[in-house]
């Protein structure tokens, strides 16, 4: 099962995210948790979220990037769902061996994420904390998918990105290279 954890505060107002999610929503064996719609008061149902994670083979974190980071709700989801003793730490092997795919949209053009661009840093620098979150939980980090300039590019460009995502998820098989890099619980103790 593929679990999509979708975090957009105003899903209907979204330009890119709505199309991306719409393209994969009807795939078989997929579950979508749109956090801002499920828990508008940040009252995340931890048990339900953990149960869904348990069932999943691939966990997709999908959201727009704003202020170089995940939306507040997804950060809160990390905080209350990925608990010590469950997702990491002693006995925390619930996510061990599962795969994680990060799907994001950004407002800046590809060229803005460079030393010479307005954001002054390569996009790769902003990936690190998210990747490490997944790795710390023993998940295999799949090559992330990023759509830059989400409100600058044309509708066609968004549509083709959506198709690419649909294609990737519908044909998804665990990436052997990602498996090789999985962090084992005793690797760093």
């Amino acid at each position: 099962m593929i679990l999509i954890i979708y975090a957009h505060p105003y899903p209907q107002r979204s330009r890119a995210g709505r199309v991306l999610l719409g393209a994969v929503r009807d795939l078989p064996d997929i579950e979508v948790h749109s956090l801002y719609e499920l828990y508008p008061d940040f009252d995340i149902d931890v048990d339900a979220e953990q149960a869904a994670l348990k069932r999943a083979d691939l966990v997709v974190w999908m959201h727009p990037i704003y202020w170089y980071s995940v939306p507040a709700m997804l950060k809160h989801w990390f905080d209350v769902v990925l608990l010590r003793g469950w997702a990491y730490g002693e006995g925390g092997d619930a996510l061990q061996g599962k795969h994680c795919l990060w799907v994001t949209t950004t407002g800046g053009r590809t060229s803005s994420f460079a030393e010479s661009g307005v954001h002054e840093l390569p996009f790769e620098d902003f990936v690190a904390p998210i990747r490490q979150t997944a790795r710390f939980c023993g998940m295999a980090w799949e090559s992330p998918m990023t759509l830059h300039g989400a409100h600058l590019i044309s509708d066609d460009e968004i549509a083709s990105a959506a198709l690419a995502l649909r294609d990737r998820l519908s044909k998804w098989l665990p990436d052997p290279r990602a498996i090789k890099e999985i962090r084992r619980p005793n690797d760093f103790e």
Binding site: P9, R13, R15, Y36, Y66, T105, G107, H151
Partner: protein
């Protein structure tokens, strides 16, 4: 005639007690002085002193009932060690020392033994009234003192039974009880106690519930008094201490929902009768003896007090009272008790004591009662001096006052949800409600709910408002709710209030009384329904939440503005209209900002 006497007693109390209070001498001394002034050796204003003494002893009975109410059976079991250990030790030490002292005055061994045992007893009335006045009863030392007093009350019963056996004179003058065979008396006593327990457990609660349902407070009060008087009568019929019976009844009702209501209904009667008791003690002091034998009286009083203080101090040391409070413990229990009068009376009738000695000893007891407040003043003064010298360092008393932190006033739809959230998280609260049916039901579910009108000061005091952190005002009735906030603000300025408002006017009323945390009972729920409506119309859930948040903030600001000028009807209406216009403008501005954010650099 009765009214005339009442006039004199009340006037004497009203004049003397505030004066004593003003000079920090304590109410007990005030009453005693009032008694001396109106008694035969003062202005001789009252005629029938003996019957007043007899009547006012009922104040002691009521006091023991109230003490019993405050003591749940569980705690009584916990206290058994200090009652039977500390109490027996004190009686043995003080009794032996005083008996030896009495023997040195030339009394026979029998008389000396009776005097020793009788004078070892302290005055429950004076000791407890003084401790309550100083809020000392809930402290560990206060509890130790109470344990000793409780043991003395129990010990007084066999003591009274033994005296006639020591008698040399014929028993004819004593009455019937002592001549009855021992096993019969024992059987009667056992029967009476069993009866009190059965009544206390099975009959009082349904009766109190019926009385509470009438919602007539005087019926409830009358039943409470009837209960105590009835039990006292049962006990005295078989020659047991009325106070002990009342205490037992109190303990049996301590875990009932009517505990606080009973306590606050009995309290004024208890206070007045106890005052009358102290007055009557003052009246019975025979100053004639003081005039004819001043030297002997002085020696007896000082000798008695010295022996008793020293033995009490030793007791305190052995039972582990902190060194700082040993003298306090000794002084509190130093006086002779009201049982002394009874014992000396019986001892004289059976010929164990001569009339002269009985009078002298009565005098000693009465005078020793007046010395307690004076010794306490001396103790305070001495302590203050030591503290000044020692840099004012002092450990706070460890107060185990029922640990009330939260009081919930009103346990209807609203209070229940607050209470359940607290209980579920292990926070105990004292709940006050005035609906007997509701209480019955909730107690079945294991809640600690007490019957009573929460806006009454005495009930709040009984529920522990003085040391609580928080009171939740969830009373249905708007007027009662406002009254409660007045009472709390006036009497417990440090008690934080969280209030439920039924509507805007109620909110304004609470706010203008200085209540800071108020929740309108329907506001949050209506706001939530508004959010659901926006969602049903296709608006994102989180966006609907934003809108509700803006609305809430504006609404409360608007309400607060109304609080400040709520006296002016015209400005209230115009403020409401201005508020509405302002809110529309606010939403328009927000909408515009929201749209433009999306088109530029917001969430994609």
């Amino acid at each position: 005639m009765i009214l005339n006497d009442a006039l004199i007693y009340l006037a004497a109390a009203v004049i003397c007690v505030p004066i004593a209070w003003r000079f920090k001498l304590g109410a007990v001394l005030g009453y005693l002085v009032a008694g001396i002034l109106i008694g035969p050796w003062g202005f001789n204003l009252v005629s029938d002193v003996d019957s007043i003494v007899h009547f006012s002893e009922f104040g002691v009975v009521l006091m023991l009932f109230v003490i019993g109410l405050e003591l749940e059976p569980g705690r009584l079991v916990e206290m058994r060690k200090s009652v039977f250990g500390g109490g027996a030790l004190q009686l043995a030490l003080s009794g032996t020392a005083i008996a030896l002292g009495a023997a040195s005055f030339g009394l026979g061994w029998k008389a000396a033994l009776v005097v020793g045992a009788a004078l070892a007893l302290s005055s429950t009335a004076i000791a407890i009234a003084t401790m309550t006045e100083r809020n000392f009863l809930p402290t560990p030392t206060g509890q130790s003192s109470f344990a000793v007093l409780l043991f003395q009350d129990i010990a007084a019963i066999p003591l009274l039974a033994i005296i006639p056996l020591l008698g040399v004179a014929a028993l004819s003058g004593v009455g019937d009880e002592p001549s009855a065979p021992g096993w019969l008396a024992f059987g009667k006593a056992f029967g009476a106690i069993a009866m009190v327990i059965v009544i206390g457990i099975y009959f009082t609660r349904p009766l109190l519930r019926l009385a509470a349902k009438t919602r007539l407070r005087e019926v409830f009060t009358a039943l409470a008094l009837l209960l105590v008087i009835g039990i006292a009568q049962i006990m005295s019929l078989v020659g047991l201490s009325m106070g002990l019976g009342a205490f037992l009844a109190g303990v049996l009702l301590a875990s009932s929902e009517y505990r606080h209501a009973l306590e606050s209904d009995i309290e004024p009667f208890k206070g007045l009768l106890l005052g009358l008791f102290f007055i009557s003690v003052g009246m019975t002091i025979d100053f004639g003896l003081l005039v004819s034998q001043p030297g002997k009286v002085a020696i007896l009083v000082t000798g008695f007090l010295t022996l008793k203080l020293v033995t009490l101090w030793l007791t305190a040391r052995i039972i582990g009272v902190t060194s700082r409070q040993r003298w306090l413990f000794a002084i509190l229990l130093s006086q002779g008790g009201e049982f002394g009068f009874v014992v000396f009376g019986v001892a004289r009738t059976v010929g164990v004591l001569s009339r002269e000695w009985a009078d002298l000893l009565n005098m000693t007891v009465a005078l020793s009662m007046t010395t307690t407040p004076l010794l306490l003043l001396l103790h305070d003064w001495w302590n203050a001096r030591i503290e000044c010298a020692g840099g004012g360092k002092r450990d706070a008393d460890e107060i185990n006052e029922k640990d009330t932190r939260v009081i919930i006033a009103g346990f209807g739809r609203f209070g229940q949800i607050v209470g359940r959230l607290l209980f579920a998280n292990g926070i105990d609260a004292v709940v006050l409600d005035h609906d007997p049916d509701q209480i019955e039901l909730l107690r079945k579910f294991g809640y600690k709910v007490f019957y009573g009108d929460a806006s009454r000061l005495d009930l709040l005091n009984a529920a522990g408002a003085a040391q609580a952190t928080l009171i939740i005002n969830a009373i249905d009735d708007v007027d009662d709710s406002l009254l409660l906030s007045d009472v709390v603000r006036e009497n417990f300025p440090n008690l934080k209030m969280i209030a439920r408002a039924r509507n805007v006017m109620h909110y304004v009323g609470l706010r203008s009384r200085g209540v800071e945390v108020i929740e309108r009972e329907s506001f949050e729920a209506a706001l939530k329904a508004g959010r659901h409506s926006l969602e049903a119309l296709g608006i994102d859930r989180f966006r609907a939440r934003d809108m509700a948040n803006i609305f809430r903030r504006h609404n409360i600001r608007d309400l607060e503005a109304r609080v400040s000028d709520f006296s002016d009807e015209a400005s209230r209406v115009s403020a409401a209209k201005a508020g509405r216009d302002e809110l529309s403008a606010l939403f328009a501005r927000d909408r515009e900002q929201f749209e433009s954010d999306q088109s530029s650099d917001g969430w994609h």
